[in-house]
Structures are given as C-alpha cells and as structure tokens.
C-alpha cells in the first residue's frame, strides 16, 4: 500500500478517535511508546492514555492542513509530520499545532505509535 495513503489513513483515524473518544487512543500505543506533549514527557500506553484523557477540555476538533511522511529505516517504521488547527469547545479562536508520529508496524498488519511529539504553534 502507498505509504502516503497509509500515513493519511492513520492520521485521519488518530484525530477522529481523539475528537470523539479520547480513551480509545490507548490502543494506538504500546508499552515502549513515548509522548512529549507541550514539553511534558510520558511513557507507556496506559500513562499516555491517562495524560491525553486528562487534558483540560471536553470537546475538541482537529482540522488537518498538511501531512508529510517518510520511511524511518529498515524496521519498517514511518515518520509522519502533521500540521493543522485545534478548535476547543467554547473557545473563540482555533489553536495552531504541529505533531510528529513515529509509527511501527504490528504483526497484524497495522501500525502503533512508538514516538509522539505535540506542540502548539503560538502566534
């Protein structure tokens, strides 16, 4: 399957899950996964899911502007670089953000998030 198509499909699935069922994101991470969220570091699927679930807003909508991807090396991983905007419920202005994922293949033929780094891009 075309890597760009795989990256786009993953990104759509990730943000759709984030925006509708944040707890469901836990399945996309594993024990060795790492998240850096606005500089705060978390490790492991459980801790990462807890961190994301505890973010101080109920609803949000991600609007994706760009998705770039490249293979990361011989292990079959994929680096995905996203930019877009984030609308929080009740806030007037959308926040701009960038995020990078390092996806690794699972035996079942899908991908999990090994590395995840998120940053808001302030004006």
């Amino acid at each position: 399957m075309d890597p760009d198509a795989v990256a786009k499909a993953f990104v759509e699935h990730y943000y759709r899950t984030f925006d509708s069922n944040r707890a469901g994101l836990a399945n996309l991470y594993q024990e060795g996964s790492m998240l850096t969220f606005e500089g705060a570091k978390t490790q492991g699927a459980q801790a990462i899911a807890a961190k994301i679930s505890s973010l101080p807003f109920q609803q949000c909508i991600h609007n994706i502007s760009t998705v770039d991807c490249q293979p990361s090396g011989p292990a079959g991983g994929m680096l995905v670089f996203v930019s877009g905007s984030l609308q929080l419920a009740g806030e007037q202005h959308a926040l701009k953000f960038s995020q990078m994922f390092h996806l690794m293949p699972t035996p079942q033929g899908s991908f999990y998030v090994l590395n995840d780094i998120f940053r808001l891009n302030y004006a």
């Binding site: 850096t36 990361s72 680096l79 390092h102 940053r119």
Partner: protein, 133 residues
C-alpha cells in the same frame, strides 16, 4: 554523586539534539552549502511537501532556495530516542526571518538523526513546513 554523573541517557540525548539543532541552523543561516555533509545518500528531505533524496540533491535544493540570507529563531526543541536504529527524533518550532521581509514566518521541522561511526550524527529524515497564520 554530582549532578553530571546522575545525568541519564535521556538528558544526554537532549543535549545532543540541542547541539545539533544549534549547529544546523547556524550553518543554514551563515553557509547553506555546508549543510550537504550533514546528509547521506539515503537521506530524505520533505520541504513544503516536495520530496528530495540524497545528500547531493538535498544540498542543491537548500542552496537554491530563493533567498540569500535568513535567520532562524528557535522557540522549542523536543527530542526522543528512536528505537530500532539507535537514532534520535528531534522536533523543532520557531520563526524564520528572510532578508528584506517585514514579517517573520513561523515554521516546524523534524529530523531523525542517525549516529555515524565517528561519533557524530547525520540527518536521515528531514521534514520542513511553514506554519501559516
């Protein structure tokens, strides 16, 4: 034990990432032609969606960008180890001032750095995007 001895692998990694970022943008801003040696023939660059492969082509692309001088101002640097390869993932955001332009451009960039035999790093993956207002 003093503080330096307690410094873990992660802190070392962060130091490497910061040092690399400072070196990379210093070169970019003062001597773009000198960037090519930071890449290998397997390296990949995505520059505003355009894909380029190999140190030579990447060096050419960067040298041909339509401005003489620019200055990068770095706001954030995040790094994580990249397992299954021993590399480092580096995620940068900041501003870019082009000579003669009134307003700065915001940008994000990510690198995957892979160690060389000589104890330094080369850029295996590089993705750059302007963040429009």
């Amino acid at each position: 034990m003093d503080k330096e001895e307690k410094m873990g692998v992660e802190d070392q990694l962060e130091m490497v990432a910061k040092a690399f970022v400072n070196h990379y943008y210093h070169l970019f801003d003062t001597n773009r032609a000198a960037l090519a040696p930071l890449y290998h023939h397997t390296s990949m660059l995505s520059f505003e969606g355009q894909k380029i492969q190999g140190a030579e082509e990447i060096g050419q692309k960067l040298a041909q960008l339509p401005f003489e001088h620019c200055r990068h101002f770095i706001s954030t640097i995040d790094s994580q180890p990249s397992p299954f390869g021993g590399g480092i993932l580096v995620f940068v955001s900041g501003n870019l001032q082009l000579q003669g332009e009134e307003h700065q451009l915001k940008f994000s960039q990510m690198f995957q750095l892979i160690p060389t035999q000589h104890g330094s790093f080369f850029v295996q993956n590089d993705m750059f995007r302007l963040n429009y207002g």
